[in-house]
Symmetry: C2
Subunit: 333 residues, 2 copies
Amino acid sequence: MRTCILGASGLVGRAMLALVEDQPWLTEDPVLLTSARSAGQEIPFRGRTLTCRQVQPDSFDGLQLALFSAGGGTSRQWAPVARDAGCLVVDNSSAWRMDPASPLVVPEINGRLVGTGPGIIANPNCSTIQIVMAVAPLDAAFGVRECHVTTLQAVSGAGQAAVHELERQSRAYPAAEGSDIFPRPMAFNALPAIGQQTGDGSYEEESKVLNEMRRILDRGEDLQVTCTATRVPVMTGHSAAVRLVCDKPVDIEEAVRALKNFPGLIVTADPYDYHTAREAAGTNEVYVGRIRRDPGNQHGLLLWVVADNLRKGAAWNAVQIAATAAAAEGMDG
Amino acid sequence: MRTCILGASGLVGRAMLALVEDQPWLTEDPVLLTSARSAGQEIPFRGRTLTCRQVQPDSFDGLQLALFSAGGGTSRQWAPVARDAGCLVVDNSSAWRMDPASPLVVPEINGRLVGTGPGIIANPNCSTIQIVMAVAPLDAAFGVRECHVTTLQAVSGAGQAAVHELERQSRAYPAAEGSDIFPRPMAFNALPAIGQQTGDGSYEEESKVLNEMRRILDRGEDLQVTCTATRVPVMTGHSAAVRLVCDKPVDIEEAVRALKNFPGLIVTADPYDYHTAREAAGTNEVYVGRIRRDPGNQHGLLLWVVADNLRKGAAWNAVQIAATAAAAEGMDG
């Protein structure tokens, strides 16, 4: 598939480019698109160098696949242009995630919704992806009725400038500093506020976990979800402490089996074992550990879920969607 | 009260010494006791300098109050010696917390259990103190039936060496490093493992929150508690995301009122408002913010609870217990 990446110079755009290097359906060099500000940047690809170009109305002509990793505003502007030029758009912003015409896809769960030909497919929120990857097989096994989450999220979710600020402020500690990016100083701190205020007492990230998890699992208000989303001084890798309440009593061995049989998960069955953000960084899998039953509720289950927010939480999930479309087109190698 | 501090050279011991400077019942200089290794260290007190002495069998003779902040083994060895010498021992280790003869006290909640004269009073676990401070008034208002917690805990809870290691590793990042103190590298990471393994799938810190919260609130298995305790790269200040389920439907205004009327809390009523670990560090209060109702459960309530783990989580709570005893003895200035 002739492909472009919009937002190619950002953290997720660069991760997308690195990940498509190995994709057999990508036979031609992708077109790298950015804003005017980043046009001209050079990025390595398959041993050569590609140059970023400013996105234009004719940028998408003749292409079949557009991987978007730009802000919601940029996506709302350009995704319809790309679609109307004949592209399948896989969009990493939140712009299309609640649009009934755009499937919200985690390929291991609902990859069947990926069609061929022009359209817009939404890539879910980073935290939602890793949590729902752990919840889906348990929902199939026990029927998940409630999902209560506390996330511990990395700063790379807020972009390159956030990573640089945290590096700089960590070295300068204990010098008192504000933040150009976060609502409070981020170094050696934990902030329970990610995204805008939604009006119902939640921050955006918390609402996304609720709304997107229901949509991906094809559930409604019968699935209760609460989330407290926090930012912690981690560069890459989101962690989530998850408590589930199920319709049926939870047998731990059966839960471990269900998780181990699900693609894309690395499962540690010992309740004391786990992976951390730094171990997950740079990998495509979702790690599920600290699996234990709620001591006060036979229907309850506790988990620790970790993944690279730039990979499975963003770029890798988008590339998987593209690969699913390529396979549906009979183009996978 | 003639007073000693055992473990005076540690982070909590130094905080205790700084906090008793202002206590009117402390008219004589406290005796500073340490292990042989730290004996001879000099620590400022009320404009002068006190010298640490090695703890000995006769160290407690003639004293009335012993503030202990040493490990559990040291406490098991010396607390009975101090008590038998006539001291009221306020112990910050976990050694006596489940001992029926030793009250487990958060003064705002069950200060009535502080007696006069010789005995051992246990100071609760740092995370437990701040969580139960928020739960107690809500329990009185609505009857708390379930308490589900994710903690984000500072490294100073693991002592001075942990703080120094995190400072050093944060500067050295991204150089790969292990840890002399934690089970995985702590800089720019989040570890869901605090304390020893208890055998039921929990780590010690998680079991402490369950067992100590029940004891402080004088509840049994009718209070369901789950906890995932995590260590994050924060120097001082524990944060906790708390979800409660109550017997009665929760009215948010009533919840805020109950919290505001409780001593020792600083409450932000706006559901978007909160304090962070860095703001709490160096203060004695417990901060309760992000107060909002569970969107799927009228009986549910979400909170963000922050406190200085060395102050209210340790030294300040111990000094409050001592002050309660002094008041009971009619010695408060």
